[in-house]
């Protein structure tokens, strides 16, 4: 099963790569994604009692945490793939062979990350996701996208290289304390109490910074606005929803080892600090942001901050963070895709040229606005539930300062983000020199509606299976607290 989950997308990638027709190739994406989704659901919701999905003598193991990430990844990818044909149909001028194939490889690598219980293997997969997603950012093939790709590739590779060093430190920590050195996750957890603290300490920092770079935490976030700003909306969604989640998973794994070891307090301090810092940086750079795609990138930085903050606060907030991972990913889908549509409709992503989207492209405009309200934590949308859970946990555990700063930064972000969003959505449509042909259509609208629907659903009702998944995952993270 595990192999199937990883290899099927690779196979699809090969097929996609082989298929000559530029027009029909995109349709393989939804098809493949659907199958993958079904496979995932089978793997995740297999009846209790069966042995867990595993492979390579437990290098691959689908644990509670992995289940959440994996199912989320495939849902996200599926929804994006629904958008792909409509989008690529607008870009028939561009060859999309590499693009589509890469998407599949990315999917497979993300699955690998979600499954792998071996830090080394996880590192390999993570770096691989970076490499394969780079060309997708370069899809538009102009000066700006080259620059974006270069920065993305270089900074992430360097960051992840540090993560590798960190993994080595971890292994050495076990070696130092006379254990047979390993990078396997479960033995590390068991050995954690006896790991040499200094090495564990250094290892955590390296891994946190390394994978944090990939996740886009401040101050390692610098590549994000460029990459998200230049990549097509769909790639933005997969980066902001998918890859970041993988990086977050990696950090969670490391955090688990620290929690089992002596470094829990230290790790949580750092997470709270970096989380708040990321939110602050995002807030600062969102203010007066003219480029609404870059603004979305900063919003992503902010929410990565919220995720680690949630873990740092601990307790109920862990549940909140995991829920927020899903909510944020889905809402980002709404935002990036509708922003992409608006970008197409105006031929610009600067608020100087864009206004009155609600009139020019009513559906995308409305969705963009709704997505904004959702991501800033207004009921009845999903992010409200998760963010409120985190606040509640912070206050409940007496961490008033963290909770207060969290709320304060949410307010600042809202103001910064809202100014830009409303400038885009409201008002009258400016005179365009050569009005773009783009208009809302089912192909480019329906998938976003699906995203929005899910966001709304998660706001008013959390299905029991998801609830159990999250509870298990949170419990799995909180063992030994």
């Amino acid at each position: 099963m595990a192999y199937l989950l990883i290899l099927f997308p690779l196979a699809m990638a090969a097929v996609t790569f082989a298929l000559p027709s530029n027009r029909w190739r995109p349709w393989l994406l939804p098809a493949g994604a659907l199958v993958q989704l079904i496979l995932t659901l089978v793997a995740v919701f297999q009846p209790t009692g069966q042995p867990p999905v595993s492979g390579l003598d437990n290098w691959l193991l689908l644990d509670a945490l992995g289940k959440v990430i994996l199912s989320f990844l495939s849902v996200l990818f599926f929804l994006c793939s629904l958008y792909a044909p409509g989008y690529l149909a607008l870009r028939v001028d561009r060859p999309n062979r590499v693009f589509c194939a890469n998407l599949f490889v990315t999917l497979s690598m993300m699955t690998l990350v979600a499954l792998s219980h071996h830090l080394g293997l996880m590192w390999v997969a993570m770096e691989a996701t970076t490499l394969v997603s780079a060309p997708s950012i370069y899809f538009n093939q102009n000066a700006r996208s080259i620059e974006a790709t270069w920065k993305y590739l270089l900074i992430c590779s360097v960051g992840i290289a540090l993560a590798l060093l960190g993994s080595f430190f971890l292994a050495y920590a076990s070696l130092k304390s006379g254990l047979e050195s390993t990078l396997l996750f479960d033995p590390l957890i068991e050995a954690a109490p006896r790991l040499s603290p200094q090495w564990l300490h250094a290892a955590f920092v390296l891994l946190f910074v390394g994978y944090g770079t990939k996740m886009g935490l401040a101050p390692m976030h610098t590549w994000k606005p460029d990459a998200y700003g230049e990549a097509p909306g769909i790639v933005g969604t997969i980066l902001a929803g998918g890859l970041t989640s993988c990086a977050f998973l990696a950090i969670l794994r490391v955090y688990q080892i620290c929690r089992a070891g002596a470094e829990a307090e230290f790790a949580r301090e750092i997470m709270i600090f970096i989380g708040l810092l990321s939110m602050a940086v995002a807030a600062v750079f969102m203010a007066r942001q003219k480029d609404f795609k870059r603004m979305l990138a900063y919003s992503s930085v902010e929410h990565m901050g919220i995720l680690v903050l949630g873990i740092g606060i601990g307790g109920l907030a862990v549940y909140g963070a995991l829920l927020h991972l899903i909510n944020n990913g889905l809402t980002k889908g709404v935002l990036f895709l509708s922003a992409g549509n608006i970008h197409r409709a105006y031929g610009s992503k600067l608020t100087d040229d864009v206004s009155g989207a609600i009139r020019r492209v009513p559906l995308s405009g409305a969705l963009f606005l709704a997505g904004f309200l959702a991501i800033t934590g207004s009921p009845p949308f999903g992010p409200f539930v998760s963010e409120f859970t985190i606040v509640n946990a912070a206050v409940g555990s007496g961490q008033f300062v963290a909770g207060g700063l969290f709320l304060l930064l949410l307010a600042v972000v809202f103001i910064g983000m809202g100014a830009t969003v409303l400038a885009v959505v409201q008002g009258n449509v400016p005179e365009q020199k050569q009005p773009a042909a783009f208009h809302d259509s089912v192909a480019t609208g329906a998938p976003i509606l699906l995203f929005m629907g899910l966001v709304l659903l998660l706001g008013v009702y959390i299905p029991a299976p998801l609830e159990t998944l999250l509870r298990d995952a949170a419990g799995f993270l909180e063992v030994g607290r």
Partner: protein, 659 residues
Amino acid sequence: MNEWLLIAGVVLTALSGVPGYLTRYPGPVTQWVTTLIAVSGSTLGLLALCMFWTMGEGQSVVLPWPIPGAEFAVALDGLAALFLLPVFLVSLVGSVYGLAYWKESEHPDSGRKLRLFYGILTAGMGLLVIARNSILFLFGWEGMALSAFFLVTAEDGKQEAREAGWVYLVATHIATLCLFGLFAILHAASGSFALAPLAWDKVSPRTATLAFTLTLLGFGIKAGIMPLHVWLPGSHAVAPTHVSAILSGVIIKMGIYGLVRITSLIPHPPVEWGEIILALGVASGILGVVFAIGQHDLKRLLAYHSIENIGIIVIGLGLALVGRSLGRSGWIILGLGGSLLHVWNHAFFKSLLFLSAGSVVHATHTREIDHLGGLAKRMPVTAACFLIGSVAICGLPPLNGFVSEFLIYLGLFGTLVSGDGPSYAGAAFAAPALALIGALAIACFAKAYGAVFLGTARTHHADHANEAPWAMLAPLLVLVAACVVIGLTPVVVVPALARAISAWAPELRDVEAELVALAPLKWVSVMSLALLTALAAAGFLLRYRLRTGAVEHGPTWACGYVAPTPRMQYTSSSFAQSLVNLFGRVLRPKTLRPPTLALFPQKSEFQSKVSDVVLDEAALPVFRLAGYLFSRFRVFQQGSVQSYLLYLFIALIALLLWR
């Protein structure tokens, strides 16, 4: 039973706009359908209220709700019922009014949106009032807040609408975040999200203070208490008028509801809370009306009066809180009773005023008071309604405004005379303040009514205005009726008030009897009726005398000047000038007066403007400064990949050296 009726009503109103929004059927049909559904929804709600007041408490509804900590808990108690009446009544008349005021044909691009969110707005308020779980409350709250935003920016093509809407959105979101914090604290204190009385003694004073501050901020912003009112005037001015009516008649009351509900959860509040709220009430009352006097925009003027009336309501609440801390049931009953009754009264007469003002705007296409005049002749019914509204809002007998202020006065004087037990003279000073507020209100409405409806038309628009259609007049009459009934027979509201008060302070025994004992409402109605009959008689006498005696008609005596023009009338701004100068320190009026240079001065002009001090001289500068400071940080993101890698490295080293 009542609860289910209410839920049905809420759902109906929420969905009222949907069919109209989805179907693109041309013409007025969608608009009629929408209004029909909305009206029936509100009617259901009102029905439920009647049943509640006649038959009594129903069974509260509690359903599981798969969201962490949340449950769908709904209950209708005295407080909720009291706040629900304006919700349903005002939105009902408002949606009828909208039929003619915001015709689909006249507003093709905003009409559907407007009706959709109007329904959601009503439903949101209905939900938040009956919610007994803070998460459910937040859903209703935000449903209200956001739809209100879309209503304020109904005409988002206009710059001023966008700006006002933006200010509103920021304010309301900050309020919501405060509520997040508040409910989190309450959860920490009580261990559940249920909005039920707290074991307050277990809460540390620090936490309690924090909770109180958040309550004050979160709900105070929504209620528009000075100085948290910054969003209020702008949005009231630019919103479509039947929206302004519900904004100022009902939505800001939701802030009051929050204050009342949360304070009801706390059995023994520190006396300082009451003091603070009392002081805030006095401040908003006086400043609100003072700012109102300075306005040239009819709707802005009314908006500032909302701040004033919120002030009066808050004074009552503060008195009640003080009473609760000191265990003086009389103060609780009179203070809270007056403030809650004023919630009703203000909802009625303020909507009445806004809707009549809307008819004026609709007929003359301007909100500038000094461009109007003489409308009493062209729009007699509207003029009469506005006059009644003015008398009511100034708290003058024989209308409803007087009754509520009467109760509050009694309570305030009571703090002096109640011999036995702890007295609290500080509160008494609110009485003269209230008197000042009343007198200023009289000045302000003399100005407004005089300049708009009396004298002669100052502009062409005003000269060619026509009386509003019946769809716009009927709602006015309903509200007039409400004002008159409460004014003449205040006894009818006693049961509702009593229930609300005992819901707020369960420790009190047979509130109704005590309220009747404390407040001679019978006398009030006797005197009001006597006043009316006396007026009628005297009026009749004068008429009779005039009919018998010789009466000739001529121009107004201009003290010998032979060619007076409408432009020579005393304008509203000159009417207000002396008061504006009197409070110049607060109002900071900006005047533009070009100096007269030549011996024979040429055509010149004089302008004066009173803008919102808090917004323009405190809030906005702060935000601008923050924006500027933030933009200074951009140097760190100048695109050089080397420096980016450097940050990465620095972060690494810093974290390594962390501990």
